[in-house]
């Protein structure tokens, strides 16, 4: 099975790190990285290709932050639900972010940087159990 992943983070050091950690766990075959949320949004909503199964989204970014990205996705929520799993990946430890993330159905979880092996494997198993229920769509 081919797994496509988006990595959205303005911090290049963080992107490189997460990408290497994912590769070390053989998490994904294709990883697209974006240093700007608006670029990722543009690509995601173009619908020229199937959406990524997993998105790692940083919160604290200039111009368009993670929340603004999620708000911009609202019109596409029905199409993406069940097909695209968004994980917030943030260095912030604020509880308010966790609370807020629960308001978004597209958000499957919130992970504090740096992402570790256990967290990567947990996402993998989560995706595998959901695979049958996702249906033919």
């Amino acid at each position: 099975m081919q797994l496509k992943t988006y990595l959205i983070d303005d911090d290049s050091l963080s992107i490189y790190l997460t990408e290497q950690l994912l590769r070390a766990e053989e998490f994904s075959t294709v990883i697209h990285t974006f240093q700007s949320a608006s670029q990722a949004l543009q690509r995601l909503v173009q619908e020229k290709e199937p959406p990524p199964q997993v998105v790692f989204l940083d919160l604290n970014m200039p111009v368009m932050n993670g929340w603004q990205f999620l708000d911009a996705l609202a019109p596409y929520e029905d199409k993406l639900l069940g097909r695209c799993h968004i994980y917030i990946l943030t260095s912030s430890l604020a509880l308010s972010d966790l609370e807020k993330s629960k308001e978004y159905d597209l958000v499957s979880g919130l992970i504090h940087k740096p992402i570790d092996t256990e967290e990567i494997r947990a996402i993998q198993s989560q995706l595998n159990t959901q695979e049958p229920s996702a249906g033919p769509g």
Partner: protein, 616 residues
């Protein structure tokens, strides 16, 4: 208690065996002696309140009301009548005599009854004398008779009543038969003798008030002296004196005066402007406070209502003046109170707390309002200062909280990367390219951590400086030139132009290093975020504002930014992801400006340019 009340309560009179009664001016029986009750064979209580006319039908043409009316004018009157007693009718003569009285007191008449039987003139005379003696001795006023001797040069006491003894403490036996000069001490003596002589000369009653020290205390009396001229073979003259005791009345007046004085002093002691609004006349009577508090001269007092209303702040006029009239005329409220601005004579505005109490009639209509205006300007000012201080502290606190939040977040980001790389490095091939790259990134992350801590240090040092008071007049144009030296090359490379129009002489109280940092940061930002569509132009200008401040504007025609995206001065806030930057420059600029008690504002339009305005 007045004279008539005292008479009506006179137990001695009521118990007297002499048949007599006390009438009011309408001829109604107010008091009877035991002797009279016995004569008519009825209980005394049943006679009270009845008219004399009911009790005794006239024997001659003179009716009871006529006799009463005549006696009330001061003429002693004989009223002969049939007195109905069970089983028989007695022919009785009533001698009516008006009691001396003070002004405004009701008239009372004595009536002494005498059963008519054949008598001799001498007996009649004796009878009359006896009656007079009863009257004199039962009345509460002091009465005395003086005989004028040696053509009015000497006066000798020939009669004093019981009240005289009681009031003066001098027994009748020590007074009767003695000369006035031996009884009355100086200085009163000279004075009373003058009055006696005047009564003799004028042949008219004389009245005055006197204060006397008697053995049983100070007495204030109203003295009436009536001269009596007895015509006959030997012309003689007597003076009848009645002294009505005013002590109690005078004491009441004195107490009232004292209480009035206390009120006057209380008004003096208070700094409030006390007023009394006469609502029918629409005038205000002011206490002294009004002139003292607001400096307005009162040409008249009371003043027209407008004297107050015209000085109320025009914007508040409706609420205050109309509100007062509404409360007065459209409600039944007892109190009215309002806070408003009131113009002083010097044109300044006082903050006033005004509270008044309405006096209303039985229908609830307002008659007067008594109130006080209190100048609470100082208190208000203090409250306002307190509020400003609180606002500043709240803001500072919020700033600090935000600062802590931002710092912790910006420490956490490089720290998380460092942790991640440390983890990664332990799991990958030491000889791979990824290993080398990750090691480099680990180092960078740690340097970034250090940079954040350095930022914290420099920010805290500005806060430390803020209240140190180490300021000097800074020549702004000079500092600006120095700050631009290091940027000249960058400016030339991009083909930009900078026009600095700061007057050479302009000095602002502050910190040189801060001004240097401000100009350096703002100009380097302008260069960094220039527009590719046109050549860069930076203009620096100063203006003096009308309120004694100086404004410095730094304007560029660069790419601008979207102000709706958030506060550009916030720490680590970035608006451009395409240019390197840490988001601390403008935060420091703002901290520097504010530590010198200045303000900074920004206006920016995307694609047009940005203007920063500094105000000192």
């Amino acid at each position: 208690m007045n004279n008539s009340d005292m008479l009506l309560g006179n137990v001695e009179f009521a118990q007297s065996p002499e048949p007599a009664l006390l009438l009011d001016a309408a001829g109604t029986i107010r008091l009877v002696t035991a002797g009279l009750a016995q004569l008519v064979r009825q209980p005394a209580g049943e006679l009270l309140g009845r008219a004399l006319a009911d009790l005794a039908t006239p024997y001659k043409a003179l009716t009871a009301p006529m006799a009463v009316a005549q006696a009330a004018t001061g003429t002693p009157t004989e009223y002969e009548a049939w007195l109905e007693v069970p089983g028989e009718a007695l022919l009785v003569s009533f001698s009516l005599l008006a009691l001396p009285r003070a002004v405004a007191q009701p008239c009372l008449l004595y009536a002494v009854a005498r059963v008519l039987t054949p008598t001799t003139p001498a007996q009649e005379l004796l009878e009359q004398e006896r009656h007079l003696s009863i009257i004199f001795n039962t009345m509460t006023d002091v009465a005395f008779v003086l005989a004028a001797e040696e053509e009015g040069r000497r006066f000798r006491f020939v009669f004093v009543n019981q009240a005289f003894e009681k009031t003066t403490g001098l027994p009748a036996t020590q007074v009767i038969g003695r000369l006035v000069t031996d009884v009355i001490p100086e200085p009163a003596l000279t004075q009373v003798q003058q009055y006696y002589q005047r009564a003799l000369r004028s042949r008219q009653p004389v009245m005055w008030q006197e204060v006397s020290e008697y053995p049983n205390g100070r007495k204030i009396g109203e003295v009436h002296i009536t001269p009596l001229f007895i015509e006959g073979p030997v012309r003689s003259c007597q003076l009848v004196g009645i002294v009505h005791d005013l002590t109690r009345q005078k004491e009441t007046e004195a107490r009232l005066q004292l209480s009035n004085e206390r009120f006057q002093y209380a008004i003096k002691a208070t700094t409030d402007a006390i007023y009394d609004w006469n609502i029918a006349a629409d005038t205000l009577y002011w206490g002294e406070g009004f002139e003292q508090l607001f400096g307005h001269r009162l040409e008249t007092n009371p003043t027209p209502f407008s004297k107050w209303a015209d000085y109320v702040e025009p914007a508040e006029h409706h609420r205050v003046v109309e509100g007062l009239r509404h409360t007065a005329f459209r409600t039944a409220n007892e109190f009215w109170q309002q806070e408003y601005h009131f113009r002083r004579a010097d044109g300044s505005w006082a903050v006033v707390f005004d509270r008044g109490y309405f006096l209303r009639d039985a229908q609830g209509q307002p008659i007067r309002m008594i109130g006080a205006m209190q100048d609470i300007s100082d208190r208000k000012e203090a409250e306002e200062q307190q509020r400003r201080l609180t606002d500043r502290l709240i803001k500072q606190n919020a700033d600090l909280q935000q600062f802590t939040y931002i710092i912790s977040h910006n420490l956490r980001a490089p720290l998380a990367n460092a942790l991640g790389y440390a983890d990664l490095l332990s799991r990958i091939d030491r000889n791979s390219a990824v290993f080398e790259e990750s090691l480099r990134h680990l180092s960078t992350s740690i340097q970034l951590l250090d940079a954040v801590l350095t930022d914290v240090n420099s920010i805290l040092s500005i806060r430390d400086q803020q209240d140190s008071g180490r300021t000097e007049p800074v020549t702004v144009s000079q500092v600006c030139r120095q700050a631009l030296v290091g940027l000249q090359q960058q400016l030339e490379e991009c083909g930009g132009e900078l026009r600095c129009e700061i007057p050479e002489g302009l000095r602002i109280l502050g910190n040189r290093a801060y001004f240097h940092s401000i100009f350096h940061n703002l100009v380097s930002n302008a260069i960094k975020y220039r527009s590719d569509a046109r050549s860069l132009l930076i203009e620096i200008q100063t203006t003096s504002t009308s309120d004694q401040h100086t404004e410095i504007t730094i304007r560029d025609n660069g790419s601008g930014f979207d102000q709706h995206q958030g506060d550009v001065f916030q720490l680590y806030r970035r608006f451009h992801s395409d240019k390197p930057g840490r988001g601390i420059g403008l935060f420091l600029v703002k901290a520097h400006v504010e530590s010198m008690h200045g303000q900074i504002a920004v206006q920016s339009v995307v694609g047009v340019g940005t203007q920063f305005t500094l105000r000192f």
